[in-house]
Subunit: 452 residues, 2 copies
Amino acid sequence: MENQIFNLIREKKYTKLRSLLSEMNPADIAPIFDEIEQKELPVVFRILPKEFAAEIFVEMESDKQQLLIESFADAEIREVFEELFMDDAVDIIDEMPANVAKRILKQADAQTRKLINKLLAYPDDSAGSIMTTEYVNLKKDMTVEEAFNKIRTVGVDTELIYTCYVTDRSRRLLGLVTVKDLLLNQMDTVIADIMDENVIFSNTLDDKEQVAGQFEKYDLVALPVVDNENRLVGIITVDDAIDVIQEEATEDIEKMAAILPSDKPYFKTGVFSTFKARIPWLMLLMISATLTGAIISSFEEKLTLFPALIAFIPMLMDTAGNCGSQASVTVIRAISLGDIRFKDILRVIWKEIRVAFVCGLALVAVNALKLYVFDYLVMGSFDVGKQFLEIGIVCLTLFFTIHVAKIVGCTLPILAKKIGFDPAVMASPFITTTVDAISLSIYFSLAVLLLK
Amino acid sequence: MENQIFNLIREKKYTKLRSLLSEMNPADIAPIFDEIEQKELPVVFRILPKEFAAEIFVEMESDKQQLLIESFADAEIREVFEELFMDDAVDIIDEMPANVAKRILKQADAQTRKLINKLLAYPDDSAGSIMTTEYVNLKKDMTVEEAFNKIRTVGVDTELIYTCYVTDRSRRLLGLVTVKDLLLNQMDTVIADIMDENVIFSNTLDDKEQVAGQFEKYDLVALPVVDNENRLVGIITVDDAIDVIQEEATEDIEKMAAILPSDKPYFKTGVFSTFKARIPWLMLLMISATLTGAIISSFEEKLTLFPALIAFIPMLMDTAGNCGSQASVTVIRAISLGDIRFKDILRVIWKEIRVAFVCGLALVAVNALKLYVFDYLVMGSFDVGKQFLEIGIVCLTLFFTIHVAKIVGCTLPILAKKIGFDPAVMASPFITTTVDAISLSIYFSLAVLLLK
């Protein structure tokens, strides 16, 4: 399909190209348009019907959108942006360099420009930043018939017509009526009698992650947004809530891997931006490993006397790290899904202790078996008779550190959340460093105790 | 609110309780009902209007649903399940023990029972398992007026009435019409003239993750599902797609932390189930650390001669592990969001090499500075003059292993995906083990080379 389109462009067969594209979905065309050469893109764009072209435009990458806008005449810019929904228009303008944004805004009428500027001013993570201002607004003394007439008038330009919001004269939200309600009632029924007054709504400044959570909890398709005076200013549609859910999951995953979150796709982030997102935690964690280094240094003499102990350091550190990150990641995800709250902390710790106990028994048993069969019988690198104490130290350390790792791993994210930090930041790398230091201390203390 | 409800139950003030609950949303009542004592739950449940009670029932935890069903008379079971949408009913039956499921099925008429059994048979990760069978079905020779009449008749029992599907006599999908289209056209217009034939649809056996991706890509609210003969058998609604998106994100996160994915909330998973989900990777990773142990053992003599080198092992291993997991986690998420494909592998590696180069320079510089200022000047634990070579070895190893870690970290997930494995399984713990072995080999090789 992609190659066929490129061939038609090269051969300038625009009529055929247009009929081929008209059968496709804008979301499928956009990534193909992103690959078209700069000088051909505006030509191809112009052969399409305006509304269809605008739908493709919305889905394209922002650097290609910029190229297109720069090649457009003022009238074309106006035509394309008139077809867009307000939230999409604002998102696009937000990504443009100042001079391009200014040129777009110049094409809008004074009222629209004012509205766009207001929407641009909402903080990036707020409900206001993802809402659209087009919705069907009814009054409570309207009849069902009048409501249908209103929907027919504004319907074409509105993203979602199936939930209509009822407001009073100062635009305060009174209730909602769905088109389903309208269809199931007589034409002369008054809206006030059928509207649902228990409306779930959000405030323009609410956190957008929390708003997305409401879509999930209440199975919503749209959510009205009010300002601080309770006046209806817009709605959020479910497609934008889904985007927020995906973004937040990506952010959590990045934080768990000790990366500062970014909102751009992999190849859209430059080397230096990627570097800046990754270096702070790498630096901090490298420096904090000084502690582990100091613990080993203080034990240096003993280690040169019992060099067999050195070989187990990576196994002990890695197993403790893995145990800790399993616990922390499980708890972090459960916190963000709302399954774990601060009051559950003791229940969580108690569960992790029991899991650690069973995991500890299993791992120690397998480790002892491995030492006997592989290291002693097969490789002969270890003498079970003479190095009995060393085996004991390794197994005991393993057992204890698994408990410490699970407890630290499950506790830190809950505490972080309690004191207002992001639990995801407390994930594996941070816990690994903490648990490394504790497990080495246990290891060497046991060694000092038993290897007199 | 919660305590007020519990008090009203204890004082048996059911009229007041009913009016309080009727102002609330079922999704908010369900978690409170989950906490009500076993003997009081059926009583409270019975004071509510049937439809409202059923909406709460759907949102409750499955062990509480089971308790309720067991306390219900047959007639009550029938009443509650008649209020449910087909997909919710099937999900609930799927969670019940065999005898309870059988009792529920006995209350349904023969046709419904047959349909439920068919839905229960779809694989857990298929589109069929999350679809519902209630939708508005139109014929192409109907008029808009007839369509509205059809919607009014079936509308009440249908989850989503705003997208209607047009089928032929053998139920093959021909197109779709939205209520918006119906509202914007004359009453005598024929459906065939206004229906959209470019319908995005899925097959009952499609992977549900892929289906959820279509909702995201095309901004859908509903997606029709057809069987292998192209006959329309149901629709998937956006609320179920959102649940799939969240589940898949949780699964990816669990796999990245070396946990076998589970589909139950934290406290609903028993200690032994949690143990079973965590132990396989812990075991595998512990045993694979034998390799790192063997590398250290083979270098034991040299280490006892230059004991200062031991103290840097944790720092080198942790930094390499963190670098590797940053790269792998970024790439894994980009793969699941569709940003990276196999053909991009060289571009990815080239980007990671450049990031590794800049990160390497920064980390080596800070590490050298730390050694000089902290370990030499402040602590005196290191003699820069005498141990110049050791510093060189540590810094060179750091620089090289960062490159290896980033390259291994970004390559393994892409290769895993190519050969049909789950990229998420290639995440941090697996890569840590690989990178540990490589970084220790580099460290000791450099030491042997330079410390003659």
